[in-house]
């Protein structure tokens, strides 16, 4: 699916990256602890999180994550959005909860990728 599909499924507001919404994503990862995110590597993935700080964006940078969805209506500080913009990472925000957001995306066909112990 594309980031635009995610935006529609979760009724997101686009905080940055309006013109990049047609980018494709294949996998998703939902977590509030950044090392749990860093344990998971997949290309073209989206990060769904309630953690709204600069380290969320840095984690996404290290992993080449395409898009971050902030759940529970959280809106990051300007510096967080600026860092994402500098690195071409799309930022969406939804009022939905983590569980609902992940469930909807999973139901719509996004996969969780593989856990590191699977081959």
């Amino acid at each position: 699916m594309t980031v635009r599909d995610i935006k529609n499924l979760l009724s997101c507001e686009t905080l940055w990256g309006e013109e990049l919404l047609d980018r494709k994503v294949h996998t998703a990862c939902g977590a509030d602890m950044m090392s749990d995110v860093l344990a998971f590597v997949k290309d073209q993935s989206v990060l769904i999180t309630g953690l709204v700080n600069l380290q969320t964006v840095r984690t996404a940078m290290m992993m080449d994550i395409v898009c971050i969805v902030f759940v529970r209506g959280k809106v990051p500080a300007k510096e967080v959005i600026d860092l994402a913009a500098d690195n071409d990472i799309i930022i969406l925000s939804t009022s939905q909860l983590m569980f609902e957001s992940c469930g909807k995306l999973y139901g719509a066909g996004l996969s969780g990728g593989k856990h590191k112990n699977e081959s």
Binding site: M33, S35, A39, N53, M62
Partner: protein, 138 residues
């Protein structure tokens, strides 16, 4: 080719943690190091950099880039790690609640560093500091 980069990692400002790793990632990309190797280095170094900031009051990171490998040495003068074997276990963390609120303290950093690198060695002494050496083959 043999290039070396050195970074001072400051622990005063948590918002800056990860800047060194982000910079190395950009440099390696520019040097046309293969994508997979760049990502492994970036993730392992970022975990190590964060550890230096939250557990050891900062330190110094040196990165050496050769044709066939990238070596990272993260040296701090922090409290040291009392039981390295335990620290390496998934889920083991001594991070306090204020650090967990910042998104760290899952106890996955050291296991991730091991997983993404081809070699990893921890040298540590209580009250003296910790040096983590990691190597990623290209």
């Amino acid at each position: 080719m043999n290039l070396n980069f050195t970074y001072d990692v400051d622990s005063e400002d948590f918002t800056r943690a990860g800047e060194a790793s982000a910079d190395i990632k950009k440099k390696l990309k520019k040097m046309n190091v293969p994508h997979e190797a760049v990502r492994k280095v970036a993730i392992a170094m970022y975990e190590g950099e964060i550890n230096m900031v939250i557990h050891a009051n900062g330190g110094v990171i040196t990165v050496s880039v050769n044709e066939d490998s990238i070596t990272m040495v993260l040296a701090d003068k922090g409290p040291g790690i009392p039981d390295v074997e335990k620290a390496m276990q998934e889920g083991f963390s001594t991070a306090p609640d204020n650090i967990r609120a910042l998104g760290f303290g899952a106890g996955m950093g050291l296991p991730n560093m091991k997983k993404y690198t081809d070699e990893m060695h921890i040298d540590t002494e209580i009250g003296v500091g910790t040096t983590v050496t990691m190597k990623v083959n290209i």
